[in-house]
Amino acid sequence: MGKSLFEKVWDAHAVRQLVNGQTQLLIGTHLIHEVTSPQAFGMLRDRDLKVQYPHRTFATVDHIVPTNESVEPYSDPLAQGMIEELRNNCADNNVTFFDTNTGKQGVVHIVGPEQGITQPGTTIACGDSHTATHGAFGAIAFGIGTSQVRDVLATQTIALNELKVRRINVNGTLPPGVYAKDVILHIIRLLGTQGGTGYAYEYAGTTFDKFTMEERMTVCNMSIEGGARVGYVNPDETTFEYLKGRPYSPKGAAWDAAVEQWKSFASDTNCTFDDVVDIDASHIQPTVTWGITPGQGVGIEESIPAISDAPTQSERDSVAEALEYMQFEGGSPIRGKKIDVAFIGSCTNGRLSDFQEVAKYVKGHKVAEGVQAIIVPGSQVVAKIAEDLGLDKIFIEAGFEWRAAGCSMCLAMNPDKLVGDQLCASSSNRNFKGRQGSPTGRTMLMSPIMVAAAAVTGQVSDAREVFGFASAGV
């Protein structure tokens, strides 16, 4: 019987079984940021422990960095304190820190791959639930809590239960105007926000085979929104092509050996999965969330569900709660909802290809009056390339603000926040109540192109019509 990638990587990193039946699992690559690591370093100091494998931990700063202010000290003393704490912890423990002056700083899940730190067949952990992003490379990547960050720093391992594996096959060609973001919003809508609990998601099928690494990352990134702590795609030529020549990728003879080893981690064709789901790519529409969980989404041609549409009382309660919070009427069309803010960025959709795609279509359009539209590159590397390509000028000309790298309005730990009950078309990953910084702020998740369409029309719109895609309305 063959093995899945998950089983192979797990087996290669399993150190031993613990008394409670969990596995002590080696974490090969540890990524840290300023929000969930300072307490862990504090715990180490309290117990007089040192960082065991400092060369396998990499740090960057992303959540709290202002995107419109580059000179320290930042106007928020708490943010300044956090960046300094990280700087000191890294220096004291010989941990590599992609600081703001390195040209490499950015959102941790964008920095790891673009530096070539994220590699197939590895285990990766980070005190951040969107760590599954790195699974796009065929790594097993976990979001962990701060006590576990402590565990990784002190032992390079964590205690974990093995996961089941659900294979999600998406086959066929996505219609024009439908993107990786729509694929994952569609999957979460289908399987629910807790459907993935206890599972690793293996994404496969011809749609994923054709996806670029950046598209694969967008999908894997949101695995946790479907309840799956881990999501991955088997490594292939697209993966190796992306990694070749990156700063931390193996070089020379080591590269060839690494590629051979990476290939061996891919799921065997004769392996069995705990569950299999098949999805037809041609049925996926541009998808937009209308509620307060990422599973509450509909296609742009659909209407928001009515309370009475939900089959059970608890689901009716959830729909009612979401409609009340979002100030939407059940049964009304999703399109046409007037927006106040448009945000393109985040670890989900803050990569170069996201901006290239948006730039291609917003040329000649103007952000609608009364809408604040911001575009935030996911890293300094992305920002530099985008600027070299002149994308920033296209955005500014169209009325968008072009900012510096960071998490920005995805989670509002920095000055980028919604105000009052503003409605935001957002390319980020969470539409929870208050997520974007105002306790009454409202978020609608969608692809970057759909955010751009909302920005220029001032309302939720079908990007295929706004930007005249070849086969609009497919």
């Binding site: 409670n20 006590s147 032992t155 239960n161 807790q194 309660d317 208050g434």
Partner: protein, 200 residues
């Protein structure tokens, strides 16, 4: 660190209704601008409890009848979203020892167990019974019997579930795994030695 075994948790309860209570709801991100977990208890469920101008909303968590509660009762998929340990830390620091829910998000569950915050699963119907018992008798003592998979309130009881590994860890007092992980250092270095990418 080996801690005191947790076989039972006893205390008064408070009902926080709703499914998919996410970690942003438990502790909004703007309160995470800190370098220690001290003081997080104050912000537990902040936006659920407070209006934008800082006044108390009408909510069980503000109701003096439930002020002494140390057990939270809630819906399905409790703790979904972020991996922030700030969420169970704020629950613990606000004086709660346990959560009874329909189900838990995985990372939240692991983070809570590591801290000794007991998370048990009870059915919709049983949680409803407990919630209405709390509503009628806020002074009611609830006991979560981890060993026997039971929630006892007054002279009645309902079954509950907890993952085997978590249950064993709580019962043995080894829910914080660090000491056990440290003991495995030699084996860790052997496993690491076999992986090319781990070499310095």
């Amino acid at each position: 660190m080996s801690s005191t075994p947790i076989k039972k948790v006893t205390g008064k309860g408070v009902f926080v209704p709703g499914d998919d209570i996410d970690t942003d709801r438990i502790i909004p991100a703007r309160f995470m601008k800190c370098i220690t977990f001290d003081g997080l208890g104050e912000y537990l469920f902040h936006d659920v409890r407070k209006t934008e101008s800082g006044e108390d909303k009408k909510h069980n968590l503000n109701d003096p009848r439930f002020a002494e509660a140390s057990i939270l009762v809630s819906g399905n998929n409790f703790g979904c979203g972020s991996s922030r340990e700030h969420a169970p830390q704020s629950i613990l620091r606000a004086g709660y020892d346990a959560v009874i829910a329909g189900s838990f998000a995985e990372i939240f569950f692991g983070n809570s167990t590591n801290l000794g915050v007991v998370c048990v699963i009870a059915s919709d119907a049983d949680r409803e019974i407990i919630a209405s018992a709390i509503e009628t008798h806020p002074e009611l003592e609830i006991t979560i019997d981890v060993e026997n998979h039971e929630i006892i309130y007054g002279d009645q009881s309902v079954p509950c579930e907890i993952k085997q590994g978590a249950r064993d860890s709580l019962l043995s007092g080894n829910y914080d795994p660090l000491d056990e992980l440290l003991v495995g250092a030699d084996e860790v270095s052997k496993t690491a030695g076999a992986l090319p990418y781990m070499q310095a």
